[in-house]
């Protein structure tokens, strides 16, 4: 026990007196979430500029243009005489899409036939496509019911609705009702940052030791390993509390987590990360190489977690591979707990994986030092 406490105090002193290590264990996890939350603080893209090419120039086509402009997602920034001139605006990046209303738009509708509106979107971002498509679809649906109403002149509003839209539908967004980008990406980043700063901070600590010890790791027994682990945990507990509780609160992100559940879930995650970092530290041969080895893994790890590219579509090999890292179960578990108010029983799979990882990496960090 005495050995553990001595190792604990020694490591705590080493870490806190090493600015490089503290940058990763303290400064990065404090600042990084703020930066990301600030970048995405608007959550959604509004008023995407489009050009309208209206060859119909009828009341109906004007109504279509006006209503599209009135949607929150799209703004009609230009009105062009033909497609080439609209395309020029797109090439100059003045607009992200073109809405083309053909000459026969009005007459086909009046003849009781289908009229077609064409939209052309820049695929530089999916957000442009989605916004323009959704806005135009909504406008066409409301225009449709308006047209139908004029065709059924004598019916009441309710009768028209029953004929034209007998089976309406509603979409309900759970856990992120506005489909905001920050609500989606920040919880995953908060979790991932905690793992990455440990790989970097602890890796840097071990690289320094390797260098100072003449190209060799000092041999550590179980007691000293435990002491060190406890020292890292001491530093990380307040950091994790800040990242997982304070940051979502500041930026008004979803926060349905039950405190005890979250604490119980975060504990094995931090432990798994600490021992993973102490295991992987054995490939860090100099103070600086931790950064060369670990920083770039953040992007693949985010994708492997299934937050962006859905987990159900990740090939089996990568799925298995992704569970080498605590970030995968932790991101999925944290989102369920934080965004949907899941209990520990709901995330039992992720929870168990984290404890298994803790056990494996603890054993591994002992074995590599033998």
């Amino acid at each position: 026990m005495r050995k553990i406490i001595l190792a604990y105090l020694h490591e705590l002193k080493c870490c806190t007196s090493d600015i490089g290590v503290m940058v990763f264990l303290l400064l990065v996890p404090l600042g990084y979430p703020l930066l990301y939350s600030y970048i995405y603080s608007h959550q959604v893209v509004r008023e995407i500029p489009v050009a309208v090419v209206d060859h119909s120039q009828s009341n109906m086509s004007h109504a279509f243009t006006r209503n599209t402009d009135a949607t929150p997602d799209v703004a009609v920034a230009y009105s062009c005489i033909d497609i080439p001139s609209a395309r020029q605006l797109m090439e100059k990046d003045k607009v992200k899409g073109i809405i083309y209303i053909p000459q026969n738009f009005d007459s086909t509708i009046k003849n009781g036939e289908q009229a077609h509106v064409s939209i052309f979107c820049s695929m530089a971002s999916f957000f442009y496509y989605k916004a323009i498509l959704v806005a135009c679809t909504e406008v066409s649906l409301s225009l449709n019911s308006h047209i139908q109403a004029t065709q059924l002149a004598r019916a009441t509003t309710e009768e028209i609705k029953i004929t034209t839209s007998p089976l309406p539908n509603e979409a309900i967004g759970l856990s992120n009702p506005t489909a905001g980008f920050a609500n989606f990406i920040i919880p995953a980043i908060l979790i991932l940052v905690l793992q990455q700063v440990q790989l970097l901070g602890i890796g840097m600590r071990m690289g320094t030791e390797y260098e100072k010890n003449g190209g060799q790791y000092p041999s550590l027994g179980i007691n000293r390993l435990l002491g060190r682990g406890a020292a890292y945990l001491t530093i990380l507990l307040p950091v994790a509390t800040y990242a997982l509780c304070v940051v979502p609160h500041i930026f008004g992100l979803p926060q349905l987590a039950d405190g005890t559940t979250l604490a119980l879930f975060a504990l094995p995650y931090l432990l798994a990360c600490i021992f993973l970092a102490m295991t992987l530290g054995c490939i860090v041969h100099s103070r600086e190489s931790a950064m060369l080895l670990f920083v770039f893994t953040s992007v693949p790890l985010l994708f492997l977690s299934g937050i962006s590219w859905p987990g159900s579509s990740i090939p089996l090999f990568w799925k298995v591979f992704s569970y080498i890292f605590p970030s995968t179960p932790a991101i999925n578990g944290f989102i369920a707990i934080n965004n949907m108010g899941a209990t520990l029983a709901d995330v039992s799979f992720e929870y168990c994986v984290l404890w298994v990882q803790t056990a494996i990496y603890f054993a591994a960090s002992i074995i590599i030092r033998k």
């Binding site: 009781g112 609500n183 770039f296 999925n332």
Partner: protein, 387 residues
């Protein structure tokens, strides 16, 4: 001068081949990422996303809707739930991304003219999965609505065509320019690949320059270059430029010739843009190493810059949706300019003239370290390494 350059290049090659980390950063790590991203997103667009069906009505109508939903490409009904509670629990356990609810009495109320509502619940915590399931569920609902409307009208004596025209007088036709099959892989990989390379360049450049300060070999390095800092820097970075260029040429051939991603400009244009990105990224790394000649700070800022590049270049979330000051700051990231050149040329096929600002910006990055060369020279001779 040329002799000095040769001497520094030879010295640098020795360093590169005696430290595995250099080949790891220039070749192994990027290749690993390319293979990972390409095979991970092999499908292009995710299909068969698991969803649940809550059919409380259980009539021929609701069964028809269920079949139609299950036939949608992006969706796979993996669960039939008795009630919403069971389905939302499955959603909390993350077994499903969405649930579709047909309330009890839907068919009966439809006949009675009561306009029953079809509802679907989406988990937007997984934005991509949520949006894709939304699209399929929305389309299925519209089709069900139209089918009922048309059936009523044909029963009243209208022809099928008349009924279709009446139910949907205005139709929207979409043309997704540059990526007509809406592939997420195309959308992401075109910027993820160069992003990984650019990130590794930032860090490796800062590392290789500041190592000379750490091991106090700066004087020797300068000496090999005939005490000319420009020769010293050029000789040090050129071998790395070459290695990264090979990686960049590889990913361009991989993306456009092997995976056949849309390319509306000659391949040489994208290779040229990639090479420009490499030199711009090296210059920014050198700039950081000269401004902050300490391994810790130069490499930390380089890491930060590289990682933030992915978010701020606007390929995942458009910069128009970011806070105003961030929108201006995007110009400080080489990846942003590369992304604009890529989307203007490879994706949309616009003439080069429309991207001149971004070429100019990348070239400006290359000039950035020049004013700091004196400072670097001084640091190499005099600075002490601090941990």
């Amino acid at each position: 001068m040329l002799r000095g350059l040769r001497r520094v290049v030879r010295r640098e090659l020795r360093i590169i081949f005696s430290h595995r980390i250099y080949l790891f950063c220039t070749t192994a790590a990027p290749l690993l990422c390319f293979i990972l991203f390409a095979t991970l997103m092999d499908e292009g667009l995710p299909t068969g996303l698991p969803v649940a069906m809550v059919d409380a009505d259980n009539t021929p109508l609701s069964q028809r809707i269920t079949r139609r939903l299950d036939a949608m490409q992006q969706i796979d009904i993996v669960k039939q739930c008795a009630d919403i509670g069971e389905a939302t629990r499955a959603m909390r356990r993350e077994d499903i991304y969405a649930l579709y609810y047909i309330p009890r009495g839907t068919a009966r109320r439809l006949i009675e003219g009561e306009r029953p509502i079809l509802s679907y619940y989406l988990n937007y915590s997984y934005l991509v999965a949520g949006s894709l399931t939304y699209r399929d569920m929305y389309i299925t609902s519209l089709l069900a609505n139209a089918a009922v409307g048309e059936a009523t009208l044909t029963a009243q004596g209208a022809t099928e065509l008349q009924a279709t025209n009446f139910v949907q007088p205005v139709v929207i036709e979409t043309n997704a320019l540059g990526n007509p099959w809406l592939s997420y892989a195309v959308y992401l990989n075109n910027t993820l690949f160069p992003g990984v390379v650019s990130l590794l360049i930032f860090i490796l450049t800062a590392y290789s320059v500041t190592q000379e300060i750490k091991y106090r070999t700066g004087a020797k390095w300068l000496q090999a270059a005939g005490n000319n800092i420009l020769v010293a820097v050029a000789g040090k970075l050129l071998p790395q430029t070459l290695l990264f260029s090979l990686t960049a040429i590889f990913y361009n051939i991989f993306l456009y010739k092997y995976l056949h991603y849309p390319l509306n400009t000659p391949l040489s244009d994208m290779i040229a843009a990639s090479l420009l990105l490499i030199v711009a990224s090296q210059s920014l790394g050198l700039f950081l190493a000269s401004a902050l000649p300490s391994p810790r700070w130069a490499m930390s800022i380089a890491s930060l810059w590289g990682v933030v590049s992915f978010s701020i270049s606007g390929f995942s979330f458009p910069i128009e949706g970011m806070s105003g000051s961030i929108e201006a700051a995007t110009n400080l990231f080489p990846l942003r300019h590369y992304f604009m050149i890529y989307s203007n040329k490879a994706l949309l096929g616009y003439p080069t003239a429309y991207s001149w600002v971004h070429y100019a910006a990348l070239l400006t990055f290359c000039l950035l370290p020049l004013p700091l060369m004196k400072r670097l020279k001084y640091a190499l001779k005099n600075y002490r390494y601090i941990e």
